[in-house]
């Protein structure tokens, strides 16, 4: 017979540690010991050591919570607690999460499993957990005050139900949820189908992540919990590019990606180089007749989308939210546009007062991706990340879908940058360039202009270099 400790080790969760519990051993004797994670790296899938078999998911920059079987019941132990989460190298956030990380670990079960979840509250205020999207007894739905008493500080509550419907779900508090979700309390839940399901195909790789957003003032650590819409950090699983791991697959793998949205706005998630089908929503797998190919799918607030594709194009393919502000890190929303504003003479005058001053934005904002200038502490540059050909000029909800011939099955390691075969990359034209015909007429037939607008002569400003940059 294996001990619980051996069992967890056998589960192969690298980096997971048994928490030195503040709660006494005796009181926890009947509980599965809580397991915590101390890093934000993507952990390899947790192959189920017992219970019903299934193909595990890979949580992007996350992990799956180990369980124990207790007389046929799958027992998990979630600990709600303050955590420090690395948003990307160079920035850490003071969040609330579960078992050492925010978001909390992914919970994976199989359709028909009886699940018992112990929830210990180590937050400074009461909490609950709501099992978003699941069919469960009303008293297990986790709405504080409505379905149950909130879990007081220091107490442990037990939720128990049968995972009836296969699909993609989330969990999050439903007690002071505005604060608790703004602080990062959330997690992913996957219920795998029991055996073959007519609408759920087996896949080679199954990724999942949550969309989340924080408002952390540059130079500070704790999210502003009262922010309504004007967030400045857009994340997948509380990570911002370049902190988001790439999705590494083998050529011709069938890939499933599950996305849940716990931000305050929708996100059109876009994948380059492939078409995908939306095979599942909050309601479960979509009927085959409703599926059509997409390259972008909008994930609305509180929704889940499950997309599937055949990774049959080799290369490094961008994978991101298509709201371009969401592929930026913290930026000033009131910064005036400086494009085309000549700084000559002024830069010197300003540097006499502010010696470290440098002109930025005159040619656009790409300067930001190129220049490496000191920023406030604990602040990610607005656009960052360097690819094989220079600055990627991205942040936030951006990563790379890497398709490689040589990637081994079950290997999730980053294969490095893709080397395009010769003759398959954009190149510089060095021949002569004809002057293009320019648009000249103003006004349409319905409203011709009475006088020729002085604005008709468009001055096309070319980027130019000025001394003092």
């Amino acid at each position: 017979m294996v001990t619980r400790r051996d069992f967890f080790r056998g589960a192969g969760v690298a980096g997971a540690t048994l928490a030195a519990s503040a709660v006494s051993r005796v009181s926890l004797a009947a509980l599965p010991e809580p397991v915590t994670m101390d890093k934000a790296d993507t952990q390899p899938p947790l192959l189920p050591p017992n219970g019903r078999p299934y193909n595990p998911v890979v949580t992007l920059n996350g992990w799956t919570l180990p369980w124990r079987m207790n007389k046929g019941v799958k027992e998990f132990h979630l600990v709600a607690e303050p955590v420090v989460r690395e948003i990307a190298p160079g920035m850490k956030a003071h969040l609330w999460g579960y078992n050492g990380q925010s978001p909390g670990p992914t919970i994976e079960v199989v359709e028909g499993d009886r699940v018992r979840l112990f929830v210990t509250n180590r937050l400074p205020e009461h909490t609950t957990i709501h099992w978003h999207g699941q069919r469960i007894p009303n008293g297990m739905d986790g709405v504080g005050g409505l379905n149950q008493k909130q879990i007081p500080v220091g107490k442990t509550y037990v939720y128990e139900f049968v995972a009836r419907r296969p699909g993609t779900f989330m969990y999050h508090p439903h007690a002071d949820e505005m604060t608790q979700m703004a602080m990062g309390m959330m997690g992913f839940w996957v219920t795998h189908p029991k055996g073959q399901h007519p609408l759920i195909d087996p896949v080679d790789r199954d990724f999942c992540f949550l969309l989340n957003a924080f408002d952390i003032d540059p130079g500070s650590y704790t999210p502003k919990v009262n922010t309504m819409l004007d967030f400045n950090l857009w994340m997948w699983n509380s990570r911002s590019f370049p902190g988001i791991d790439s999705l590494n697959v083998r050529l011709n793998d069938k890939v499933r990606i599950r996305i849940g949205n716990l931000t305050m706005t929708n996100h059109p998630i876009h994948l380059h180089g492939h078409e995908f089908l939306v095979t599942g929503t909050d309601g479960g797998p979509t009927p085959v007749s409703t599926r059509w190919y997409e390259v972008t799918t909008d994930v609305a607030v509180g929704q889940m989308r499950q997309i599937e594709l055949l990774a049959d194009e080799e290369g490094d393919w961008a994978f991101h939210c298509h709201k371009s502000h969401h592929t930026m890190n913290a930026m000033g929303h009131d910064v005036p546009t400086m494009i085309g504003v000549d700084h000559r003479g002024l830069a010197k005058q300003i540097t006499s007062l502010i010696p470290e001053y440098m002109v930025m934005g005159e040619r656009g904002m790409a300067d930001m991706g190129e220049m490496e200038m000191p920023l406030p502490d604990n602040t990610l540059p607005m656009m960052t990340g360097t690819g094989p050909y220079g600055p990627v000029e991205m942040g936030g909800m951006f990563t790379v879908f890497k398709v490689r011939r040589e990637q081994k099955p079950g290997d999730y390691k980053d294969p490095g940058w893709y080397k395009q075969p010769p003759g398959t990359q954009a190149y510089e034209w060095t021949g002569p360039l004809a002057e293009p015909a320019r648009f000249r007429s103003e006004g349409g037939q319905s409203m011709p202009l009475a006088t020729k607008s002085p604005g008709a002569e468009f001055q096309v400003r070319k980027p130019k270099d000025h001394s003092g940059h």
Partner: protein, 474 residues
């Protein structure tokens, strides 16, 4: 007559001899200025010179020219120039001459009174000769001389106070002038930043990135900055002119150059627990008040002594009656004015009232001195604390904010206009420190003055540190 009055004169000389004991009644060679000079040197280490000959005047002028040729002009040199060159002060020196003349006058004997009566009828003569002398003046002259001596000493002290007060005011004027010049320089920097920001705003509109409204808002900063500078220049001109006046300068001399900065704030404000007692012992106005009461008290004695007898004249007399060859009858004459209508009570009452007045004034002078020195000391301590707070808290804080803002600008979290407007706040904090430092040094000068006499004079207009509406757009 020579021969006839020989004996009379001989006797009179006895009286004269008695008079001399009353005091020296001649002019001093330095006109009493020596004690002023000494007082000034001892208190503030400066030379007070009262030029009375052309050569002395020339020497003094060349010394002033030498002091003014120092660039920049230090506070000590400015004070020395003022003491040497201020014409009001030189006029005050002349007061000393007037007071000394009174003293000498008081010390001199009244002239003896000679009277002669001559009548003739045939060979019968009647001749009365009397050499009388106001005997009472022998009693009263020492008293009157004492009064005048004290008045003279008081005049010397008040002249010394005037020198020291001028020194204090000049020092403060110098502080204000230096501070205001420093402020003007900072305001020029603010204007430069504002100018860059206004020009950038103009180019923003030109490039089509900004509306006229946005540009106008940004221009407000420039408008305010120009106002700040104008106010600072106004204050600077007033402060400098005051210093010029105190130093008694005109024409080319007024082009003196001041240092760029005030002296640094001393690390700690000095502890002076015994300051009230020291002030009572040192203050010249208290000494003057004491001398005044003493003079008045003597005056009261004098008045009381002479209340019944206004004049008692006494002197040798001789009478010849009869033939010219008859011998003179010798005797003396006493003339006495009786207070038949005037019992002297009014004069005594007046002197008494003056005496009580002097006592009360002296008492109030001491009370005021204590209060003034307490106030000056507290002001010295508090302005030190304020300047220290500016130096150690506010200025570094603004600097830190500016540094953090630059980091934010680097991250495109704020724009260049925010950066520039923040720079202005930083500069204003530096200006605030300059003013706090100015107030401290002025309080220091006031404290020194409070140990000498009454504190007077102000620092002139302050520069405005509050931010007007137009700039509040950020």
């Amino acid at each position: 007559m020579n021969g006839t009055l020989q004996g009379l004169q001989g006797r009179a000389s006895v009286f004269v001899g008695a008079m001399i004991l009353g005091g020296c009644a001649t002019f001093t060679p330095d006109g009493g200025f020596g004690s002023v000079e000494q007082e000034v040197r001892q208190r503030i280490g400066k030379d007070a010179i009262w030029p009375r000959t052309d050569a002395e005047r020339e020497a003094l002028e060349s010394r002033v020219a030498t002091l003014l040729s120092k660039r920049p002009l230090s506070a000590d040199d400015a004070v020395q120039v003022a003491i040497l060159n201020n014409r009001d002060l030189r006029a005050a020196f002349a007061e000393l001459g007037i007071a000394e003349a009174d003293l000498v006058q008081a010390g001199r004997l009244p002239n003896p009174h000679f009277s002669m009566f001559r009548a003739k009828l045939g060979h019968d003569y009647k001749i009365e000769q009397a050499l009388t002398f106001n005997v009472l003046s022998l009693v009263t002259a020492p008293l009157a001389f004492e009064v005048e001596k004290r008045r003279f000493a008081r005049a010397q002290q008040s002249v010394a106070v005037e020198v020291l007060r001028l020194a204090s005011e000049t020092r403060k004027a110098w502080i204000a002038a230096v501070a205001s010049e420093e402020t003007v320089r900072y305001m020029r920097q603010v204007l430069r930043a504002a100018d860059a920001s206004a020009e950038l705003a103009r180019r923003m509109e030109q490039a089509g990135n900004w509306s006229r409204l946005a540009r106008a808002r940004e221009h407000g900063f420039y408008a305010d900055a120009a106002l700040y500078l104008a106010r600072a220049e106004h204050a600077q001109s007033a402060a400098r002119e005051r210093l010029t006046r105190l130093m008694g300068l005109w024409g080319g001399q007024a082009g003196y150059e001041l240092p760029e900065r005030l002296p640094d704030l001393p690390g700690t404000a000095s502890e002076r627990p015994d300051i009230e007692r020291q002030a009572i012992a040192q203050r010249l106005d208290i000494r003057a008040a004491i001398l005044e009461t003493e003079a008045v008290a003597r005056n009261l004695d004098l008045t009381e002594t002479t209340r019944f007898i206004n004049v008692l004249e006494l002197g040798p007399a001789r009478v010849l009656e009869g033939e010219k060859s008859d011998p003179y009858k010798k005797g003396y004459e006493i003339a006495l004015e009786l207070p038949l209508f005037d019992w002297g009570t009014a004069r005594v009452a007046k002197a008494e009232a003056i005496y009580w007045q002097a006592l009360d004034r002296a008492a109030q002078t001491a009370i005021n001195a204590r209060s003034e020195v307490r106030e000056a000391y507290r002001s010295y301590r508090l302005t030190h604390d304020i300047a220290k707070h500016y130096r150690d808290e506010i200025v570094p804080l603004r600097k830190r904010i500016a540094e953090e803002n630059l980091l934010r600008y680097n991250g495109m979290l704020i724009g260049v206009f925010d950066l520039l407007s923040d720079t202005r706040s930083q500069i204003l904090s530096v200006t605030g420190y300059v003013e706090a430092l100015r107030d401290f040094w002025a309080a220091d000068a006031d404290l020194q003055m409070a140990m000498i006499g009454r504190v007077e004079g102000t620092l002139g207009p302050k520069t405005l540190l509050t931010q007007p509406e137009a700039a509040a757009g950020h």
